[in-house]
């Protein structure tokens, strides 16, 4: 690793700290629930290491408790996590050119949270940054799951309750500075939020699909309107 990539790696780790703060309480609870569901410590840590996707891991526990078969659980996991395709496609436009193998490795660490932090960074994304960011998030998730299982407890209840805001506060902290700079961002976020609220409230789509469809609708609609506006300006000039 060059010195340059080393500095970028460190920057990525620093950017990952707010994710780690949000992941730890959720990971501790995951470990705890995995234990009460009847998984072993090895299985619990292995799931966090191999899957690394919070919502679907929680879902697999409740499905296991209901006696659902493995195939159905894997299928549900696929549907819940298909949204990452959109996130990776978006990041692919933003990362620096590098060997495919490096991209494949850090793509393993793309979650809602690592994606959000990475996508908001100014300029191109370096491989070092992506490794630092994703590794910090990954370690907090894996270690948190194991510790939650081992000590058989989460954080004290009041702290747990207060910390449940952490990841949402992070999303807001990432979004607001961009909203201040651009009205387009305000529209993008507000439209997607409205679509997602409607889909969720009406049970029109499961939550995994609701986020994908709401995001796409908003991103396409705003792009389309912007295109029309630009064309209008061009023909006015002509």
């Amino acid at each position: 690793m060059t010195i340059d990539q080393g500095t970028r790696f460190k920057k990525g780790c620093q950017a990952g700290i707010s994710i780690a703060i949000g992941y730890v309480p959720i990971a501790l609870t995951f470990g705890l629930i995995a234990k009460t569901t009847g998984l072993s410590l090895g299985e619990t840590v292995m799931m966090s290491m191999i899957v690394f996707a919070g919502a679907s891991q929680y879902m697999s526990l409740s499905l296991l408790a209901l006696g659902t078969g493995a195939f159905e659980i894997v299928l549900t996991t696929f549907i819940v996590n298909i949204r990452h395709f959109l996130m990776s496609a978006s990041l692919n436009e933003k990362v620096e050119p590098d060997r495919t193998i490096n991209r494949v490795i850090y793509s393993f660490g793309i979650t809602d949270e690592t994606f959000s932090v990475a996508a908001i960074q100014p300029g191109k994304l370096t491989t070092g940054f992506m490794f630092g960011l994703n590794l910090t998030a990954y370690l907090s998730w894996v270690i948190g799951s194991g510790v939650g299982f081992a000590i058989g407890a989460g954080l004290p209840q009041t702290l747990q309750q207060s910390m449940s805001i952490a990841l949402y506060a992070m999303f807001i902290g990432l979004l607001v500075p961009s909203m201040k700079k651009s009205v387009k961002v305000v529209f993008l976020a507000a439209l997607a939020a409205c679509f997602n609220i409607i889909f969720t409230m009406t049970n029109f789509l499961s939550s995994g699909w609701a986020i994908v469809v709401a995001t796409l609708l908003s991103a396409v609609l705003v792009e389309w309107v912007e295109g029309i506006k630009k064309k209008g300006q061009v023909s006015n000039v002509e």
Partner: protein, 102 residues
């Protein structure tokens, strides 16, 4: 102890989670996508954030005020220019105070 069925299930979950994460980096490698699509993909982060925050933030606790107050505190801190860690710690502190009194 590892049960064979659980391990197979975990590996299956891992594979179906990894594929959508990894595929775009291979499919679109070195390809220039149409300008409209590039524009849409640039919009995706901000739209995703909107959809990730709402409505889920209202459901973090049974008491809907946790989400409302926490999100409000985060918004104010971020609007005033606090960096992300300060926003996160600040909204946790505000909610700790809230749960102390209510």
């Amino acid at each position: 102890m590892l049960s064979k069925e659980i391990v197979m299930m975990i590996i299956g979950m891992g594979i179906v989670t990894f594929i959508p994460r990894m595929l775009p980096f291979i499919m679109f490698r070195g390809k220039e996508l149409p300008a409209f699509l590039q524009g849409v993909l640039k919009n995706v982060p901000y739209a995703t954030l909107g959809a990730l925050i709402f409505p889920a933030v209202f459901y973090i606790q049974e008491d809907i005020w946790y989400g409302v107050i926490g999100a409000g505190a985060a918004f104010i801190a971020a609007f005033l220019g606090a960096n992300v860690i300060v926003v996160v710690m600040g909204s946790i502190a505000v909610l700790s105070a809230y749960s102390l009194f209510f």
